[in-house]
């Protein structure tokens, strides 16, 4: 029997971690992830979960301890946000390069300077090329479900890669909403026993982790890592299928909403997708063929599937909650453009930057974007390819 609760996103994810019961969890507090680790720590203190906590002195050490613990040969998790993820940056590449299946919820928050603790996606976007799998979540239920599935994906013997589960700080992390919890036993059966690959703790078979690799081999290791990434999509879908049987909730590489016959569409990540869906409904009521695509597996990016889903549209706006500074576009815009590049006939694409540092994303922003897309399909002309919305002049 699933248990339905009213809980914050952080509480839901902490509960998912409790149900999975990692062997080791090394973490450092940072807003807005703090609540997650506090709740998990209280599970530990009250004997509700048998996990060894390592309460480190920085996120750099959190990820370093996770690397050591994971190589040692057990299930490992941590969590972070923003500056914490930035401080981990160096070790993120080591975790993926050593092929260690660490699971890490990232409660999305902006990056300093200026200092700001509220939601945007700059943190996880900055780590998008670190070799980690990234799974993004619209709401608390998805964050909970994705956290459970992440262990299966990370630990899959064909992959063995670390996974980030991203969800919006405060908006999802701290807001109370409805979550359907699986039973503890169901979760434990679903994730299964941890299977060791090259455990450092095997004294009988001493291994060396982390050699210096010279130019004669470095590219071979990188190519092998790239090739592993190509296997991820299928495994994410397989795990999602199994999860649906257990929970009744369906997940894919991305979610489409009223997209099949759409002329115009919005591509948007995480919580803002919910607001956008409501506005799309209003436009549909007025007879306008609008739709939405919400990426779930963001790394490795499913370029082909994404291109196939979007190529029929006339105009698309990609909304990025982060900016790639340097006269460029938002990160997701660049990825969507790449997915559509192979097609001769493709939609017109525009990019909007929204919601930085916790700036509200409101229904009128979605309306503004959809109206602009209508105008583009009518005139065939694009006024501005990139624009900040919700910003004062």
């Amino acid at each position: 029997m699933p248990k339905i609760v009213a809980a914050t996103g952080n509480e839901g994810v902490a509960n998912a971690l409790r149900q999975v019961t990692p062997d080791v969890c090394a973490a450092y507090p940072i807003t807005p992830q703090t609540e997650l680790m506090q709740r998990f720590s209280s599970f530990v203190s009250n004997g509700q979960v048998q996990t060894e906590l390592v309460l480190v002195e920085s996120e750099h050490s959190a990820m370093s301890a996770c690397v050591g613990a994971s190589a040692a040969g057990g299930r490992v998790a941590t969590a972070t946000s923003s500056q914490g993820l930035a401080l981990m940056w160096e070790i993120l590449y080591i975790a993926s390069g050593l092929r260690l299946p660490i699971v890490m919820p990232v409660v999305n928050r902006s990056l300093s300077a200026p200092l700001n603790i509220h939601c945007d996606h700059s943190d996880a976007m900055g780590a998008r090329d670190s070799g980690w799998i990234q799974i993004w979540s619209e709401n608390a239920q998805e964050a909970y479900d994705n956290t459970i599935q992440a262990f299966r994906i990370a630990e899959h013997l064909d992959i063995r890669l670390p996974v980030m589960i991203c969800y919006d700080g405060f908006i999802i992390g701290h807001s109370i909403s409805r979550i359907e919890y699986l039973e503890d036993g169901e979760v434990q059966n679903f994730v299964g026993e941890f299977r060791q690959v090259n455990p450092l703790l095997d004294i009988e078979h001493p291994l060396s982790y982390g050699p210096l690799i010279l130019p004669d081999y470095y590219m071979e290791y990188r190519k092998a890592q790239d090739e592993v990434a190509s296997k991820v999509s299928k495994i994410v879908l397989d795990v999602a299928d199994e999860f649906k049987k257990l929970s009744g909730r369906k997940y894919g590489l991305f979610e489409t909403y009223r997209l099949d016959d759409a002329d115009i569409g919005i591509v948007i990540l995480n919580s803002a997708a919910g607001t956008t869906k409501d506005v799309i409904d209003e436009f549909r009521d007025r007879g306008i063929k609008a739709g939405l695509l919400k990426p779930r597996l963001y790394r490795p990016f499913p370029y082909v599937e994404m291109g196939e889903a979007l190529k029929y549209l006339k105009a698309i706006c990609v909304l990025d909650r982060s900016d790639a500074f340097g006269g460029s576009f938002g990160q997701m815009f660049l990825d969507i453009s790449t997915s559509l590049y192979p097609y001769d006939k493709k939609p017109l694409l525009i990019n909007k930057i929204y919601g930085l540092g916790g700036r509200d994303y409101l229904p009128e922003h979605a309306e503004h974007v959809l109206n602009e897309l209508i105008e583009i399909t009518r005139s065939g002309k694009v006024k501005a390819y990139k624009e900040y919305i919700g910003v004062r002049e």
């Binding site: 996990t51 060894e52 390592v54 996770c66 050591g68 040969g73 080591i94 291994l207 050699p211």
Partner: protein, 312 residues
């Protein structure tokens, strides 16, 4: 524990770092590692910070390590081994592993005194059952002899070369052993490969103690010290006999000097054979040698007073 170590017996043990590593001829570090691993009667798992020892012992398809070994980055050997040790505790509690295993981190002075100090301090404060070994060669040798906070006063390095305006390093060496002792961990010691029995006894003692332990071991580097390839043991002996590198331990807060030179030699005896101190013997730099001697005398005095305090 305190049994006498006999080389004849030790030589029958498997040396857990193999030949075929690519450390420079005459480097002190492999000897330090060899002694540390040989001292242990337990299986050991090691972490290594980025540095000479790491790049030269595990390269391409070849590893010189006969024990489980992990290198992650420069500044995180302590945090990395703390993760390994925690997983060991977790799996032991679950009954998935039952062997007694010891955990050792190796870092150079760059990875320990400087960039890795926070990671080390954190791991020590958290109380992991681990031994951190700093092999201190007094500069960033791997990248080409750049100054570190372990570089002795007056030494010539590539980032603080002795010139007409600057006489080498103008700052005193950081006293890391004391900083670690101030963590109030159960065991802190300073050792030198020249005094191999003292070194190995300290390692054996450390491994018998539960909790975090730290050892600072002098590790001569002929490339950086601008000395001969055959003198690393001799120089480490002179460092001890001049009290530049006093051998002592702090066990549960109690200081004990473990080797007292019959006659404390002047610091010049340690400085003279090394090219990095050559400029100090010019008349205008005499004051540096004088100050170095004063610093050594003061520290030696302090150690003796501390020891006496606990003896009474």
């Amino acid at each position: 524990m305190a049994k006498i170590l006999k080389l004849r017996e030790l030589s029958k043990k498997d040396v857990l770092i193999s030949a075929g590593h690519r450390m420079c001829a005459g480097c002190g570090a492999p000897t330090v590692v060899k002694m540390v691993l040989m001292a242990s009667d337990y299986p050991v798992i090691a972490a290594n910070s980025t540095g000479c020892l790491e790049v030269s012992t595990c390269i391409s398809d070849y590893t010189a390590w006969k024990i489980p070994w992990i290198h992650s980055a420069f500044e995180n050997a302590a945090a990395t081994i703390s993760g390994v040790e925690t997983m060991y505790r977790a799996l032991k509690k679950q009954g998935k592993i039952d062997r007694e295993i010891k955990f050792i981190a190796f870092g150079g002075d760059g990875g320990t005194y400087d960039i890795g100090l926070q990671s080390l301090s954190g791991a020590m404060e958290r109380g992991h059952d681990m031994l951190y070994i700093c092999y201190d060669n007094g500069a960033y040798m791997n990248t080409g002899i750049q100054r570190s906070s372990a570089t002795p006063f007056g030494a010539d390095t590539t980032t603080r070369p002795a010139g007409s305006a600057v006489p080498g390093k103008t700052e005193q060496r950081k006293n890391l052993t004391r900083i670690m002792a101030a963590h109030d961990i159960p065991y802190v010691a300073q050792a030198s490969p020249s005094h191999w029995m003292d070194l190995m006894k300290k390692v054996r003692k450390a491994l018998e103690i539960k909790g975090p332990k730290f050892m600072n071991i002098l590790s001569p580097c002929n490339r950086g010290w601008r000395s001969r390839t055959d003198d690393s043991i001799m120089l480490s002996r002179l460092a001890v006999e001049t009290c530049h590198w006093p051998l002592y331990e702090v066990e549960n807060g109690v200081t004990k000097i473990t080797f007292r030179p019959k006659q404390k030699r002047p610091v010049e005896d340690f400085l003279r054979p090394q090219g990095r101190f050559k400029h100090l013997f010019k008349p205008e730099n005499e004051w540096i040698i004088k100050k170095s001697q004063e610093d050594i005398d003061r520290e030696w005095e302090k150690l003796q007073k501390e020891e006496a305090l606990f003896a009474s």
